[in-house]
Symmetry: none
Subunit: 303 residues, 2 copies
Amino acid sequence: MTFDQIQSFYMVATLGTYRQAAERLNATQPTISARIVALENYLRTSLFNRSGHRVVLTPQGRLFLSYAEKFLELQASVLKMTRGQDELTGIIRIGASDTMAISWLPGFFSILRKRYPNAVFELHVGPSYRLREDLISREIDLAFMIGPIAHADIASLPLCVCPMVIVAAPELGLHGRLLTKDDLGEIDFFTFERLTRPYQELSPYLKVNANSSIRLNPVNSLQTIVMLVEMGLGAGAVPQVVIEQQLKNGSLIKLDTGFELPELKFSVSYPMSPDMGVAEMVRDLSMSYLKDMPKQDSIKIIY
Amino acid sequence: MTFDQIQSFYMVATLGTYRQAAERLNATQPTISARIVALENYLRTSLFNRSGHRVVLTPQGRLFLSYAEKFLELQASVLKMTRGQDELTGIIRIGASDTMAISWLPGFFSILRKRYPNAVFELHVGPSYRLREDLISREIDLAFMIGPIAHADIASLPLCVCPMVIVAAPELGLHGRLLTKDDLGEIDFFTFERLTRPYQELSPYLKVNANSSIRLNPVNSLQTIVMLVEMGLGAGAVPQVVIEQQLKNGSLIKLDTGFELPELKFSVSYPMSPDMGVAEMVRDLSMSYLKDMPKQDSIKIIY
DNA sequence: CAAGTTTGATAAATATTTTTTATTAATTTA
DNA sequence: TAAATTAATAAAAAATATTTATCAAACTTG
């Protein structure tokens, strides 16, 4: 079975004669004839009744016509997708850390889709150490993650810096005063999972600046951390940008611990490969998107 | 664009190399190479990144893969519709674990041959970990094995559960009483080979529940295990279903160890491919065969 | 109703394309 | 660094498709 055969069959079925179909397809009548015969042999069934002066579809022919239409539609849409003049086509797999995914990524995503309507964007959310592996093994094309990362053929560009804050539900009554080391020892802390850079930076930091008996509970979902803290189960060390809403409506309040947590530095990273600069195109759009965002404390853009 | 090209692309994308795809499609490597080039020219985009030693899909390639699957599915369903309704022809390669091969498979096999007289069925018996590899490399079409297995394009459906028993020849005089830990330490045990799931599940289980000095001898043939145990060389930990006969005629007797071994869970697994549903046809017949079997303790059917 | 017209089928020659064989270059593995 | 494995390539061979020329059958029409 070939697409020529399917197309010829379709034309004969719609135009009614072999000759017309031949003309339409820039072929001769015997060519069409041969194609239909070949198709019938392949399907082991006859598609037209040629006993009369003009061709009439058989029941099997009518059934196959619906398939033929599907084949040709599929073929047309393949061409549209892959040959589309637009610069970016195909499936682009974008990785993002939790923080990025929760904060500015949704807005960027809609811009991205508008800008490159012929591409499909697949989102991979995960911790930065996993995104790094996925970049190296080429399982994603680009990642917005904590960085920059050092690797032979991974390019990294700094994007933005997000300050961390320590927050709690107002019910706990921990706000409005400078917390003592003993205060801190009483509280449960929730933050990123153990393998992540925030955990590894924060853990010694908290232990130095607070009581040594501090309880730091790693949770591998930022969404979950925010929920746990909102429910009053303890304090959370999270990037301010993901809890702007909660700070505004008062369901979470910043605590004054007397020290500052190190900021999270985000980058856009991608494998350096000689393909058409897919990653570069997404990167550039993300950088201009970030630049155009209203200035705010919780995300500082790096130029 | 031709169906040969689409199929070749699909095979390269799933198998990972041109050579393997060529083998699978009974063609030479340059043929596959030419087809892919032709397809890329037609689509005006590159589908694979061949800069390295192995081929990797480009974003466009990933997108086209989803179209290729649709094309092949459509083609398969056209053939199903116009050609023989549910006929199975050619050589179908069926994998089976030892336990399956010894117990219900022979009965099923005769049903299968009667139902599809125009097909040839090739039986591949082996441990489940090897069947898994063979499914992934498409060296078998379907397997009855311990599972379900987790893999991107392998489908797994639970089939049945088989309890394990510990048996010995009556001559050893170990039956009819609760064995002590010291008793168990005296006995040689025979069971599946080291790499298999039964061995890995059983080994710590026996060590916990019995004397730590237990001697567990792995043998890679279930048939052989049964023979060794029948000859009185030790006890065997085997699925009950394979020794029903021996239990009935008294050549083997269950031992009372005071604990139960974990059951073996069997599945039917097959590569999800857009072909004519060969695997699905065999799967469905096997499931209905198992359902119609007389109820027994040694095989519990999962619906 | 017979002549003219149109239809699709067929055979042989021709043109095109696909596949194979043999070889190469590049990359990975031991 | 040697051996093995990968895909690309060129030229020859094989297979396939198309055209030209012709035919028989079936409609049209005067």
